[in-house]
Subunit: 132 residues, 2 copies
């Protein structure tokens, strides 16, 4: 299966992520009409589809939420950054070019063989933080 061709379940889950307003947990995905309608019934089915999408760089896991989002740019899986609103859940994927290099430096200078960088910034989005 090539990098960009999705399996049936991956398509279903990817569509769910694309349609979502924010990050979705596996169980939230499972509850969506869109997904139920297709006959997907077991958590494991969702997790397997998500694993495939992560592997293809087309989705990312938000560790601090145990949730998943569709990749908002060209597929990638080596490095990602997010701003996450702790009030409304809004999550924005960021380009992290500016800080990636110093981090890679730090890793290589200690002999660390880096596979993946994950950056999560928690706070209030401009809407939720308006009146504080």
């Amino acid at each position: 299966m090539s990098k960009t061709s999705l399996t049936k379940n991956q398509q279903i889950v990817f569509t769910a992520l694309i349609s979502a307003k924010g990050p979705l947990t596996a169980y939230k995905i499972l509850d969506l009409a869109l997904v139920k309608r297709e006959g997907l019934k077991a958590p494991l089915t969702i997790y397997r589809a998500l694993d495939g999408l992560l592997e293809k760089g087309m989705a990312h896991r938000i560790e601090s939420l145990n949730a998943f989002v569709a990749c908002s740019s060209a597929p990638h899986k080596e490095a990602a950054g997010f701003m996450i609103c702790e009030q409304c859940g809004m999550t924005l994927e960021l380009p992290i070019n500016a800080c990636e290099e110093p981090l890679r430096q730090q890793a290589s200078s200690t002999g660390f063989h880096l596979h993946k960088i994950n950056i999560e910034m928690i706070g209030l989005c401009s809407n939720c933080g308006e009146n504080i």
Copy 2:
């Protein structure tokens, strides 16, 4: 209770984290002789002590492992970075000064009110990555 004075359970859990070789989950902490001996029996007891330590900046949560480490420098809770060996679990807390500023810039430029930055770098430590 002041920032540096720990409650009884917080002391017990903090000692456990300090003594550990790497990150510990709440349930791993609960299983330690050191902790059992003190009479701590319920997961919630551990989570509450951990919450207190996080709040005081004396421990950090490693999101990608659902685990916790003692802070390796002066207590802080606004920003932290880690290198995590996916083979042996070795985890090293990093100074992230170099990349903190560009991230704060990105946040403020979009009106995001930043509370916390968490950076996790996954890979192989110098020991585990020796022969690859």
